[in-house]
């Protein structure tokens, strides 16, 4: 559940951005290089100097991974029903409204069908900027329906995760989305339809502990934070500093929980090749 503080960290990087002239430039959070947005976009939103993978959203991934204009969104306007009428320092309803306005998204995942090198796929991509990419009823239901679509059309499933975990404001209902999505993946597996899980920075909590870890192959982007518990909680628990690279993609590769770490620019071809090999 690390999304909240992380979101705050982001605010500082956002304000750094704003200091740069006319919003056309981005500063690499890793090496500090100032890069023109157009250049960044051509380079798949990776730093030209240090290859840092910028956090991007569903629109960017659709452009990078899917064939031009092939994406057809489903359940686009599905949105939270605020089942608990949740209020903390802010009303959940207001939080949702504000986020929808700010991000132009209805919830933390976009789902649909599209093509990868002419092969039809069921495609879902999370948006970390929507309440920390948290999984509530909408994310769970959209994934479940996407899996149904994959089964019905007999097409491979690809899910891109970027998430702080289950959404607190929907309580136990958010938790149950872990079971809902995982049980639907069991059905997909029974149908012998391939599922590729792509883990990006960050993927933690209930998202990792459900569909993100259940790919036939799990692919991580370089240096993404991937784990169950957040680093701060673990540090508190063990009472010492965490080793360098802990919970990063390469750490997961080393411990056997992702199959491969692939740079964003090579992602599309890797997916395409894999799907061809298992078809």
């Amino acid at each position: 559940m690390a999304w909240f503080k992380r979101a705050k960290e982001n605010i500082s990087s956002d304000s750094q951005k704003k200091e740069l002239p006319d919003g056309l430039w981005e500063k690499c959070p890793s090496c500090g290089e100032i890069i023109h947005k157009k250049q960044l976009e051509i380079n798949h939103w990776c730093c030209l100097k240090c290859n840092h993978h910028f956090r991007i959203g569903s629109d960017e991934y659709i452009k990078i991974l899917l064939d031009d204009d092939s994406f057809k969104e489903i359940n686009k306007k599905m949105r939270s029903a605020n089942p608990l009428n949740f209020v903390d320092t802010k009303k959940y309803n207001d939080r949702i409204e504000d986020t929808i306005k700010k991000t132009n998204l209805f919830d933390a995942i976009k789902t649909g069908t599209g093509k990868i090198n002419n092969r039809e796929v069921a495609f879902g991509c999370m948006d970390f900027k929507f309440i920390g990419g948290s999984m509530g009823s909408v994310v769970g239901e959209k994934i479940a329906r996407l899996i149904d679509r994959a089964i019905k059309n007999k097409i491979p499933l690809i899910l891109i995760s970027a998430s702080g975990g289950a959404r607190m404001m929907e309580g136990a209902l958010s938790l149950m989305q872990m079971a809902k999505t995982s049980s639907r993946l069991a059905k997909l597996a029974d149908e012998k339809i391939p599922y590729i899980s792509i883990l990006t920075d960050p993927t933690t909590g209930g998202t990792t502990a459900s569909y993100a870890m259940l790919g036939d192959i799990n692919i991580a982007e370089p240096k993404a934070l991937i784990g169950f518990a957040g680093p701060r909680v673990i540090k508190q628990t063990i009472g010492r500093d965490l080793p360098v690279g802990f919970q990063k993609s390469e750490f997961l590769l080393e411990h056997g929980f992702v199959d491969t770490v692939i740079a964003r620019k090579d992602m599309k071809n890797t997916i395409s090749t894999f799907l061809d090999l298992v078809s």
Partner: protein
């Protein structure tokens, strides 16, 4: 062990102590009517306290250190229990226990989180917080149950999956995720019972089943009220509000259509009378088993998928 008394239990216990005292001296004095009066008062006080527990008070009851744990229920409800150890990959996790046993005429696999009762046993049990090998042991036992066509009963009572360095190295997330997927397609009946704390993925990791039961004074949610308070209010002081906002009690979860049935506890909570608590639970489990064993395996799995598929609320 010193008795733990919760703040809201205090006035009741004080009054009860006075009553005992009065009864002791009542042979010498004529205070029969006074005793009756106090007895009535105790009854009224209990009614008013326990009928209007706040959500936070329920959380406290769920964590009561004298509350029965998984092994207590196993000893009180079953016969011929043989505990089975180890995940066959790494080690035996003491925070999850399980094995075959008999509940009257039913032979079952029974698995649950296990807390300790004092410092020493809590360290041994890691405070009921499993590592990945705990979930993997649970899955191994569940597959055994499937192999021998025996129903599974799981008992949820954990403050969460252990957030440790080694737990991450060994794939805490993968272990939980794998269980969610595999439990959803086991071809034997699964009854899940929340008997204490149902903290997030650490609880759900053994919590996919055909019937979800919850004892009266338990909590089950995506996060503990304390952690929720610290994240959303940025302070540890809003745990009562967080408990209210999360709507994490048994009646709340029935309303959210997650829990099928509430299991009654002895008056004042399960910690007041372990035998009675186990008796109540045993009765409900037997009723549910009688229904579930009639359902064909494929239908059972379809129903389970549909059950979890329906959970959640959205607008389209």
């Amino acid at each position: 062990m010193a008795k733990t008394i919760l703040e809201f239990e205090k006035p009741i216990i004080e009054l009860e102590e006075r009553l005992t005292q009065m009864k002791r001296i009542s042979n010498d004095l004529d205070i029969e009517s006074e005793i009756l009066l106090i007895e009535d008062k105790v009854k009224q006080l209990k009614e008013s306290v326990y009928k209007s527990l706040t959500r936070w008070q329920r959380v406290q009851l769920a964590r009561h250190p004298e509350r029965p744990y998984t092994l207590d229920y196993i000893y009180l409800m079953t016969e011929n229990f043989i505990e089975l150890h180890g995940d066959r990959y790494f080690k035996d996790d003491k925070a999850i226990v399980g094995g075959f046993a008999k509940i009257d005429e039913y032979k079952v696999m029974i698995i649950g989180h296990q807390k300790g009762r004092d410092t020493k046993s809590n360290v041994y049990r890691n405070f009921g917080m499993p590592n990945p090998e705990g979930y993997r042991k649970a899955l191994r036992l569940m597959k055994l149950a499937e192999k021998f066509n025996k129903p599974i009963i799981t008992m949820l009572d954990t403050p969460g999956a252990f957030p440790g360095l080694e737990a991450e190295e060994r794939g805490q997330a993968e272990a939980i995720a794998r269980n969610l997927l595999e439990m959803s397609r086991l071809k034997v009946p699964i009854i899940v019972v929340v008997i204490g704390e149902g903290a997030s993925g650490g609880a759900l990791g053994i919590g996919v089943g055909d019937r979800i039961l919850m004892l009266e004074n338990c909590w089950y949610s995506v996060i503990s009220p304390e952690s929720c308070s610290s994240i959303l209010w940025r302070s540890w002081d809003y745990k009562e509000q967080a408990a209210e906002a999360l709507r994490l009690t048994a009646p709340d979860l029935v309303e959210q259509k997650i829990v099928d049935r509430i299991v009654p506890e002895p008056f004042g909570g399960a910690h007041k009378n372990h035998e009675e608590a186990a008796l109540f639970l045993k009765k409900v489990i037997k009723e549910e088993l009688a229904q579930l064993i009639k359902i064909k395996p494929d239908k059972l799995v379809d129903n389970r998928l549909e059950k979890f598929g329906k959970m959640g609320e959205w607008i389209e």
